[in-house]
């Protein structure tokens, strides 16, 4: 768990994962709390936990659990789209009085890129190649799923662009019609007004 970042103790930090449906996402995290006395991050802080919340693109909550200071969570997406993974500590101390910050180590894996290392350790050449081939097949499936999702998104993109195009065309026509009709109404109204005021 190499990459880390800092957040305030009561802050919520979210990351976005835009993934196709039926994709397994596994996350590993480790959280440490800053100790004011030691001026360093504690290796383990008792009672410190993290709320992990995963929201699907339709707003439905897929996962909402409290984990310990170190944990692994996973979820499988039902819909394609932007899934939001949020972290918030369960600390009840106020940030002002505690003056504390948290260090979160994070590693997120999307799609099944896991290698079953135990099978490879068996010194059977054929088995090792089998395992590698299975892993490659999983990777190809992931690529195919992403491609399908990409087609959906590009279609949505194209529809938005075409909608903008026709909106502009209708707007140009509507504007011309409004301009002409308002112009005619103005002239008529003023003419009637001047005639009634006996100026013309």
């Amino acid at each position: 768990l190499a990459l880390y970042f800092h957040i305030g103790e009561r802050e919520e930090k979210c990351i976005i994962e835009d993934i196709p449906s039926d994709t397994l996402v596994v996350g590993n995290y480790k959280v440490q709390r800053w100790d004011i006395h030691k001026h360093d991050f504690l290796e383990s802080a008792p009672g410190l936990g993290m709320f992990v919340t995963v929201t699907s693109p339709s707003g439905e909550v897929l996962l909402s659990k409290l984990y310990g200071p170190q944990g692994t969570f996973s979820f499988t997406s039902y819909l394609s789209g932007e899934h939001i993974i949020c972290f918030q500590s369960n600390s009840t101390r106020f940030a002002v009085t505690a003056g504390s910050k948290l260090r979160i180590h994070l590693d997120i894996r999307v799609g099944e890129h896991f290698l079953d290392e135990s099978a490879i350790q068996a010194k059977d050449k054929v088995n090792e190649v089998n395992v590698r081939l299975e892993h490659l097949i999983e990777q190809i499936h992931h690529v195919t799923k992403e491609q399908d999702y990409e087609r959906e998104r590009e279609e949505k993109f194209r529809k938005t662009s075409e909608e903008t195009n026709s909106n502009i065309l209708w707007w140009a026509i509507a504007q011309t019609v409004i301009l002409i009709s308002v112009g005619i109404w103005q002239i008529k109204s003023l003419r009637d007004f001047f005639i009634s005021k006996k100026l013309v």
Binding site: L3, Y4, I16, T72, Q121, L136, T160, W185
Partner: protein
Amino acid sequence: MFLRGTAGPWGWLTLLLVACAAWASEITFELPDNAKQCFYEEIVQGTKCTLEFQVITGGHYDVDCRLEGPDGAVLYKEMKKQYDSFTFTASRNGTYKFCFSNEFSTFTHKTVYFDFQVGEDPPLFPSENRATALTQMESACVSIHEALKSVIDYQTHFRLREAQGRSRAEDLNTRVAYWSIGEAIILLVVSIGQVFLLKSFFSDKRTTTTHVAS
């Protein structure tokens, strides 16, 4: 890296050594306006690392990026960049820090994607305990693996570009909608207002002329 199953003690050791050699983290996060977000990573000297980032949504699709070494030396600094890729070799052991800043923006928040690759990927068939060279099957596996990695890489780039394009198209669509409605309202209000204003000029003049006459 998620390791499962049981193996002999030496197996775990070699696995651990191999696993520490390479790491890739890619995260997409939202950077609010006037905010700065930093990420840290501990890197061993001599490791070749690559930082790549792209702004997906928000404003002019640009962000400031800064990469510092353990002694505070600035390795990479760019202002208002949309996309960039930076490769470096760690000259010392220590914690490297890279920050993305949206402090120049007053009200647009940005979605930023970055990919930080540390070290090279471990070889598929490690050459520690081999007697012979790779068999044909194994070398075929290796070339397919390399090709697939490159496919996944291109796919990610394409996905990000498409997300950026779609974000721009949706922005354009909303702006056109608001502009059409706004202009229609302004047109009607101004033209009707003009007529009534003109009418009011002539009505006032009438009363003042009659007033002066008497």
